[in-house]
C-alpha cells in the first residue's frame, strides 16, 4: 500500500506539471509578441537600430545582386524554390549507424523562353564510410510545348532521373535555337527579297526563292535535336522545289543530288557560310 500511495503522489505531481506545461506556450507566445513589438519600436526610434535594419537591407541587396549575376551567368533563372526534409533513419539497433534522409525539392524558373517546374526527391544515406546522395524521383513540367523535340527529351531525363543533364541539355538546346533564330533573321535582313520565313524566325524552316525565277524554291529545314545521351546537335536538310519542266532539263541531276551536296557543303563551310553560298547561288541573277 505504501508503494501505491507513493505512486499516487508521483502521478499527482506529474499531472500538475503537465497542466502547467499545457498552459505555458500560450503565455510564452504572448510574451514573445510583446517583446517583438518593443524591439520594433526600438528600431524605429533608436538610431543604432535603424543602422542594423539597414544592414539587413544591404545584405539582402547583396544577395539579390548575387542571384541576378548567377542567373545571367548560367542563363537559368530560378524564381522559386522550397524543400522539405523527412528523417527516415531506422531506429532499430542494427541500423543505428546509418542515417537516411529524404529531401523533397520544388523548383521553378525559366531558361530564356522556356519555363520549367520541377519536383524531385533526393535520398541521402550516411553510413560510417561515406555519404551517398541519389535522386529517387524526378518530375518535369515545361512550357511552351511548341518545341516538340523537347517532350521526348523530358521523358528521357525523368526516366533517368538525370537532373543535371536536363539543365545542361536545356541550356545547349536554347543556345542552338537562339543561334538559329539570329541566323535566319540575319539572312532575312541581308536578302529581304529572296529569303522568306513562312513560320517566323523562331521556327525551323527558311525558304529561299529567286525573284526572277519563280517556281524554284529551296527550303532549308534546321532542326535542333537532343540525342539519347542528352547531346544537342543541329540537323539541317535541304528540300528543293522546282517546276516539272526544270526537272526534265536537269540532266546532271543537280536538283536530285542537292540535299546530299548540301550536307557536304555544311561539313566544309559550316552553317552560316553554307546558307550564304546557297542563297547566292540561287539568286546570282538578282544580285549580279
Amino acid at each position: 500500500m505504501d508503494a501505491q500511495l507513493a505512486e499516487v503522489r508521483a502521478l499527482e505531481a506529474e499531472i500538475a506539471a503537465l497542466r502547467r506545461a499545457c498552459e505555458e506556450p500560450r503565455a510564452a507566445g504572448e510574451d514573445s509578441w510583446r517583446a517583438q513589438k518593443s524591439l520594433r519600436e526600438m528600431y524605429q526610434s533608436d538610431s543604432e537600430g535603424w543602422a542594423s535594419s539597414k544592414d539587413l537591407r544591404s545584405h539582402l541587396g547583396h544577395l539579390e545582386s548575387e542571384l541576378r549575376f548567377l542567373s545571367t551567368l548560367t542563363g537559368i533563372s530560378i524564381r522559386n524554390y522550397s524543400m522539405k526534409t523527412e528523417d527516415l533513419t531506422n531506429t532499430e539497433k542494427k541500423e543505428k549507424s546509418i542515417m537516411k534522409v529524404l529531401q523533397r525539392h520544388r523548383l521553378s524558373g525559366n531558361c530564356r523562353m522556356i519555363t520549367f517546374q520541377l519536383e524531385f526527391q533526393i535520398l541521402e544515406i550516411q553510413n560510417k564510410e561515406s555519404l551517398s546522395s541519389v535522386i529517387t524521383d524526378l518530375n518535369i513540367i515545361m512550357e511552351p510545348t511548341e518545341y516538340s523535340e523537347l517532350s521526348e527529351f523530358v521523358s528521357r531525363a525523368e526516366e533517368r532521373r538525370d537532373l543535371l543533364m536536363f539543365f545542361r541539355s536545356l541550356h545547349f538546346f536554347v543556345e542552338w535555337c537562339e543561334y538559329r533564330k539570329r541566323t535566319f533573321e540575319h539572312f532575312k535582313e541581308k536578302y529581304p527579297a529572296a529569303v522568306h520565313l513562312p513560320e517566323g524566325a523562331a521556327s525551323s524552316c527558311m525558304a529561299v526563292r529567286s525573284t526572277c525565277q519563280p517556281g524554284f524554291e529551296l527550303v532549308i529545314v534546321w532542326r535542333v535535336q537532343i540525342d539519347e545521351e542528352g547531346k544537342v546537335l543541329p540537323k539541317l536538310d535541304l528540300l528543293p522545289k522546282a517546276p516539272q519542266q526544270a526537272l526534265k532539263l536537269d540532266r546532271n541531276r543537280v536538283l536530285e543530288t542537292a540535299p546530299l551536296s548540301f550536307r557536304a557543303l555544311l561539313g566544309t563551310l559550316g552553317i552560316e557560310a553554307a546558307l550564304e553560298s546557297l542563297i547566292k547561288s540561287l539568286c546570282t541573277a538578282d544580285y549580279d
Partner: protein, 296 residues
C-alpha cells in the same frame, strides 16, 4: 485439547466457548480490517488508474501543443500575424534568396561572388547519383582569367578557355560542365564495375586517369572457372559516358563456336549501348535465371 473431567468441567466448557468467541471476534475483526484494507487498496487502485489515464491525456495534449508550436514557427503565415514589420518581410525574402542560391547547384552551375569576381562550382552526377563537385575561381577583369581551380589536369581546361572564356563565358562553363560530367560518369561506371562485379573479372580493371580507356578480362557466369572474354573500351568523345570504340575478343580455350561468336557480338553491342555496370548487372541476372532453371 483436554477436557478436565472434574467439577470445573462446566467452567472449562464456558472458558472454551469464551476462548472460541474471542477467537471468532478476532478473526472477524481481522477479516474486517482486511476487507477495509482491501477496499482502500482497490479504491487506491481505481484512483491510480484514473490518475494514469488523466496523465496520459495530458501528456498527449502537451505533445500536440509542442508540435503545433514547432509547426507554427516554421510556417509563419504573414496574413495571420496582425502587424508584419518591414524587417520580417526583408528577413523572409533573404531566407528565400539564400535558398534559391543554394538550389542552383541542381542546375550544375552555382557560385558565389568574390572580391575579385566569382567562384563557380560545377556539380556532377550520373543517372541520378550525385557525384563530386569542382570549382573554378574567375577574376572579372579585361581579360577574364582563371585565378585557381580544382579541375583535374586531364580535362582540356586550357583548350576550352582559349576558345570560349573571353567571348562566351556561359558556353565555356557549360562545356566544362559537359566534360566534367562525362568524366564523372565514366569514372562512376568503372568504379562500380570494380567494386560490385570483381567476381566477374580476372585481375584488376585497367584504366587511365581520364577513364576513357578501359580494358578487362571477364566471364559471364559467376560460377564459371575460365574468363573467356577480353574487352577494350575507348571513349574518344570526352563529352560522353558511353564508348565510341568497343572490341570484345574471345579468349576461351574451347574452339570458337557459333554460340561463342554470338555472345561475343552481342556483348560488343551491349557495351556500346548501356553503362558498363548495367551490362554486368544483366549478366548477373541472366546467371541467376540460369541457376533457377537448373534447380527447378
Amino acid at each position: 485439547m483436554e477436557w478436565a473431567n472434574d467439577g470445573k468441567t462446566r467452567g472449562g466448557v464456558l472458558a472454551h466457548l469464551e476462548r472460541l468467541e474471542i477467537q471468532v471476534n478476532r478473526s472477524r475483526k481481522n477479516l474486517e480490517d482486511l476487507q477495509r484494507a482491501q477496499a482502500v487498496e482497490s479504491a487506491l487502485g481505481t484512483k491510480i488508474h484514473k490518475l494514469r489515464c488523466l496523465r496520459d491525456e495530458l501528456r498527449a495534449e502537451a505533445k500536440q501543443r509542442q508540435a503545433r508550436v514547432k509547426a507554427s514557427t516554421v510556417n509563419v503565415e504573414p496574413d495571420q500575424t496582425p502587424e508584419i514589420s518591414e524587417q520580417e518581410v526583408a528577413k523572409r525574402r533573404k531566407e528565400n534568396v539564400k535558398a534559391i542560391l543554394q538550389a542552383y547547384r541542381f542546375t550544375g552551375l552555382s557560385g558565389k561572388l568574390t572580391s575579385r569576381g566569382v567562384c563557380v562550382c560545377i556539380s556532377t552526377a550520373f543517372e541520378g547519383n550525385l557525384l563530386d563537385s569542382y570549382f573554378i575561381d574567375l577574376v572579372i577583369q579585361k581579360p577574364l582569367r582563371i585565378h585557381h581551380h580544382s579541375i583535374p589536369v586531364f580535362i582540356p581546361l586550357e583548350e576550352l578557355s582559349a576558345k570560349y572564356l573571353q567571348t562566351n563565358i556561359q558556353h565555356f562553363l557549360f562545356c566544362l560542365c559537359e566534360y566534367l560530367n562525362a568524366y564523372a560518369g565514366r569514372k562512376y561506371q568503372a568504379d562500380r564495375l570494380q567494386s560490385d562485379f570483381a567476381a566477374f573479372l580476372a585481375g584488376p580493371l585497367r584504366r587511365n586517369s581520364l577513364c576513357n580507356l578501359l580494358s578487362f578480362t571477364y566471364k559471364v557466369e559467376p560460377r564459371g572457372q575460365s574468363f573467356p572474354f577480353c574487352a577494350r573500351l575507348l571513349y574518344k568523345d570526352l563529352t560522353t559516358a558511353l564508348p565510341t570504340d568497343v572490341t570484345v575478343t574471345y579468349q576461351g580455350t574451347d574452339a570458337l563456336s557459333s554460340s561463342w561468336e554470338e555472345q561475343r557480338a552481342s556483348h560488343e553491342n551491349l557495351f556500346f549501348s548501356k553503362p558498363l555496370h548495367q551490362v554486368f548487372t544483366s549478366f548477373a541476372r541472366k546467371g541467376e535465371k540460369l541457376d533457377m532453371s537448373l534447380v527447378s
